[in-house]
């Protein structure tokens, strides 16, 4: 078989052919007779809502999940891929959406382990730098992973795969934390790889991106193939309809006048609490009631530090931050919440919610006060009622208030967390990457919920790397770059390109101190 001559050029052998793949988890069907064909040098999009079965399909290809039925052919031969090592030996590399790295090790050490640990990290460092430089991935091999933001960690993952010179590279929503420029340079990398005849299997749901990048798209819905098309030849609406199975609504914009100032940050300067953190340098801005302020920027430019300072996880000068008239800079998260602040963190499981705990117990994570608590005891009835209200009001798909958080899809968990923070009726809401890795339906619902909250008179700060999102919901946008915050400018006076350039730090002279 392996010695058979190359097939005639008019019928090239696909690099990868999946036929009739099915996988069942307990009662649910993740994949039901899925067919997928990927050619050499092709950038192939795998589209679908969360829970459509994209992850299960690629995990089967990467040997993480054992399929119940179906075959996988690699370069024309049927193969068994019992584990990721086998996949890597075939030449398949994968960047997971929720990848795991050793936080206490350096980038180089992580990559060395990912390559089997045969080469020493020191010996690898020059090659890592070379590969990083060649593909324009800003990665410092000697940094410790725990210092890195999600976006930076993802670059490490991509780099780790590229070190193996794969024939097929699987990427699970790789651009969700990249700026347009970074995404564009990643696309350049991917196009170059494709030109070198490496195939790319690209999971995503940013339709514009897929139309710009991919040659073919396979759309999954409820575990089945809903269709295969050339994404360059169909409209985004057609693609979205194929994914969702019905028409989707545009978020409704409100027309409201900004009210009184609800959040004032004045000359907030904070030294980083670790050697590789970003110093916050004289941050100042005002947020008015009814307003959504977008803070754009590439991960690692001080977002983590700014959010920690605003949420109270890091304390600052008392008067550096005022909520209404109250100076809250020196208050911790609990006291700030009591004063009317709410916070939607970047990470869902493990930060915004505890995976192992039920929704009832997750609902009270930031609501540990009356009526859920009385005399130091948890009132379980009240906690369940709160969770039930959040599930109903924000249309969270869950088995009930006793379901563990880990059992929800990313989008539904995020709706629950957003709901919990909104339900606290905050004066000011901080939201970090509120729709990161969330499916189309939940994204629309979450953005609408934020718009509604602003309309009801709250001030909202949204930190996001998704510029399209900021342009859609924010009234003003300011760019955070190297720990400094540029002047907030009304969205109507901004272009995507201008913000992108500023995010990349090429417009330092345009960074003005707020008047």
């Amino acid at each position: 078989m392996t010695d058979s001559p190359a097939p005639p050029p008019d019928a090239p052998t696909p690099l990868l052919a999946v036929r009739g793949l099915s996988k069942r988890f307990g009662a649910g069907v993740a994949n039901d007779g899925v067919d997928l064909t990927v050619m050499r040098g092709e950038i192939h999009a795998l589209l679908g809502e969360n829970g459509a079965g994209k992850s299960t399909l690629v995990k089967a290809i990467y040997g993480v999940v054992a399929p119940d039925a179906g075959t996988i052919e690699w370069e024309g031969r049927e193969v068994a891929i019992p584990d990721p090592n086998a996949a890597r030996r075939l030449g398949i590399g994968m960047v997971f959406q929720h990848f795991s790295q050793f936080e206490t090790l350096t980038v180089a050490e992580n990559i060395a382990l990912g390559l089997g640990g045969r080469e020493s990290p020191d010996a690898l460092t020059p090659r890592i730098r070379e590969t990083a430089r060649r593909y324009g991935l800003a990665v410092h091999p000697e940094r410790h992973v725990f210092h890195l933001s999600v976006g930076e960690r993802q670059r490490v993952e991509i780099l780790r795969c590229l070190m193996l010179a794969p024939k097929l590279l699987i990427l699970d929503e790789p651009t969700s934390v990249l700026t347009p420029q970074e995404a564009e340079s990643l696309f350049a990398v991917l196009r170059r790889l494709a030109a070198e005849s490496c195939a790319i299997l690209y999971i995503g749901h940013k339709l514009e991106e897929i139309r710009a990048l991919c040659h073919t798209a396979t759309v999954l819905r409820s575990g089945r193939v809903a269709g295969t098309c050339d994404p360059r030849r169909v409209s985004p609406t057609e693609l979205a309809t194929m994914m969702v199975g019905s028409d989707i609504a545009e978020p409704r914009r409100r027309a409201s006048q900004p009210g009184r100032v609800v959040l004032t940050v004045s000359d907030l300067t904070l030294e980083p609490d670790d050697a590789h953190g970003m110093r916050l340098d004289g941050i100042r801005f005002e947020l008015r009631a009814g307003e959504i302020l977008g803070i754009a920027g590439v991960a690692g430019n001080g977002q983590k530090e700014l959010l920690a300072a605003l949420s109270g996880e890091r304390l600052s000068r008392r008067t550096a931050i005022r909520l209404g008239a109250e100076a809250i800079g020196a208050l911790g998260p609990v006291a700030r919440r009591r004063a009317g602040l709410a916070f939607i963190p970047e990470e869902r499981l493990g930060r915004g919610a505890v995976a192992e705990l039920s929704l009832a117990e997750n609902g009270m994570l930031t609501r540990l006060a009356a009526p859920v608590v009385a005399a130091g005891l948890v009132r379980r009835g009240a906690a369940r009622a709160l969770a039930k209200r959040l599930i109903e009001r924000f249309k969270v798909r869950a088995a009930g208030v006793s379901a563990p958080a880990a059992s929800l899809s990313g989008g539904n968990m995020q709706k629950f967390i957003v709901g919990r923070e909104l339900d606290a009726r905050p004066l000011v809401l901080l939201a970090a990457h509120p729709t990161w890795g969330v499916d189309v339906g939940a994204t629309v619902a979450i953005r609408q919920a934020l718009l509604d909250l602003a309309e009801a008179g709250a001030g909202i700060v949204v930190v996001s790397e998704d510029l399209a999102e900021l342009f859609e919901i924010a009234d003003r946008i300011a760019v955070l770059s190297s720990g400094r915050l540029g002047q907030a400018v009304a969205v109507s006076q901004l272009t995507l390109e201008a913000v992108g350039v500023q995010m990349a730090g090429q417009a330092a002279e345009e960074r003005l101190d707020a008047a």
């Binding site: 949420s311 911790g332 998260p333 700030r336 915004g352």
Partner: protein
């Protein structure tokens, strides 16, 4: 054969795993006896049945259970909060020293209040010892696994120095031991056995621990801190209070166990007051699934192993290190069973 992660932990396996581990350890113990060339059935009977064949035997079992249960509850609360207290042994010892010190200072002069003072001193002694580890963790970020373990050796050496030196009984024929405690400084024994009322205190501590973990906001904070430290920071739960609270509770419980041991069955301070209760309690905590009621059952089982191994040593001349072997076997079997809780076994070709 390979393991595949379950979407949700299996509820059946969660409770079947300890039972299977117990059953498998009986079988393996039998095999061990065959290898040791003793009659396996007779040995198993000595190990598991003979200790509880009489009312006195049951009382002895409850007596052995007491320190295991108290220490394991504290350890479990800590582990649930991701605070790994390996120092129950040292906290136990310091409880015995602090309480014993009260008994020796007041001597036979004291009245009814002596015993209460001793118990309070015992609890405070254990807490103080745990507080050293807590302050090192909070102040200097020195991990409690190391510090509590090292503090165990220090506590043991302090006890040894005291009974060899300043607290040695002058009429004790130079044996390294203190005077025996006065009767007012000794726990009453029940029903003509060596059992003391502290057993019931230990039994009551289990539901208290459950209420703390499941029904109070303090317990909720501990659990969140243990499961997801970043979520605890996000919610604004203080990381240092988590460390302090869980270590102080654990230290207090272990200290109580220590003073109950010297004011009860031992009756004086001697160089060795614990056959490793503080370490065995770690196994008990995990065997009981870190759940207070599971720990009650697990501590009874572990106490049975202690008594049974004693019997084997006396009647079959088997080495006492068999206790450790049997305990270790039980823990490993349980860990093996735990893999099945989170994973299912898939058989397939290749």
């Amino acid at each position: 054969m390979r393991l595949e992660k379950r979407e949700a932990p299996s509820a059946v396996m969660l409770w079947a795993a300890p039972l299977l581990a117990a059953a498998a350890s009986v079988v393996l113990a039998g095999l061990l006896f065959v290898v040791l060339r003793v009659n396996p059935l007779a040995a198993l009977r000595l190990l598991y049945l003979a200790p509880i064949a009489s009312a006195n035997g049951v009382a002895e079992l409850a007596l052995k259970m007491t320190p295991l249960l108290l220490c394991a509850l504290g350890i479990a609360i800590g582990v649930r909060a991701n605070v790994w207290n390996i120092g129950a042994e040292g906290q136990f010892t310091m409880g015995a020293i602090a309480g014993g010190g009260v008994a020796l200072t007041l001597g036979p002069a004291g009245g009814w209040y002596v015993l209460s003072l001793m118990l309070v001193a015992g609890i405070l002694g254990g807490m103080a010892w745990a507080a050293i580890a807590a302050s090192l963790r909070v102040g200097t970020n020195a991990h409690e696994i190391l510090t509590t373990l090292m503090l165990n050796y220090i506590a043991q050496n302090i006890l040894s120095w005291l009974v060899h030196g300043p607290w040695r009984d002058p009429q004790g024929f130079n044996f390294p031991q203190s005077k025996t405690f006065a009767s007012a400084a000794t726990l009453p024994s029940l029903w003509g056995t060596r059992l003391t009322p502290i057993f019931f205190v230990a039994l009551l501590a289990a539901p208290c621990a459950w209420v703390l973990l499941q029904r109070t906001t303090a317990g909720y904070r501990l659990r969140v801190a243990g499961l997801a430290p970043a979520a605890a920071r996000y919610a604004g739960f203080s990381a240092s209070s988590t460390v302090w609270l869980s270590l102080l509770i654990a230290g207090g419980l272990a200290g109580l166990a220590g003073i109950a041991e010297v004011a009860g069955p031992i009756g004086q301070l001697v160089p060795t007051i614990s056959p490793g209760y503080g370490y065995a309690a770690i196994i008990v905590a995990f065997l009981g699934r870190l759940e207070p009621f599971g720990i009650v059952v697990a501590s009874a089982l572990m106490a049975l192993l202690y008594l049974g191994a004693d019997g084997l040593q006396m009647h079959m001349q088997l080495p006492l290190s068999l206790t450790g072997t049997l305990q270790g076997m039980l823990l490993f079997l349980l860990l093996a069973g735990d893999v099945r809780v989170a994973n299912r076994v898939v058989w397939r070709r290749g």
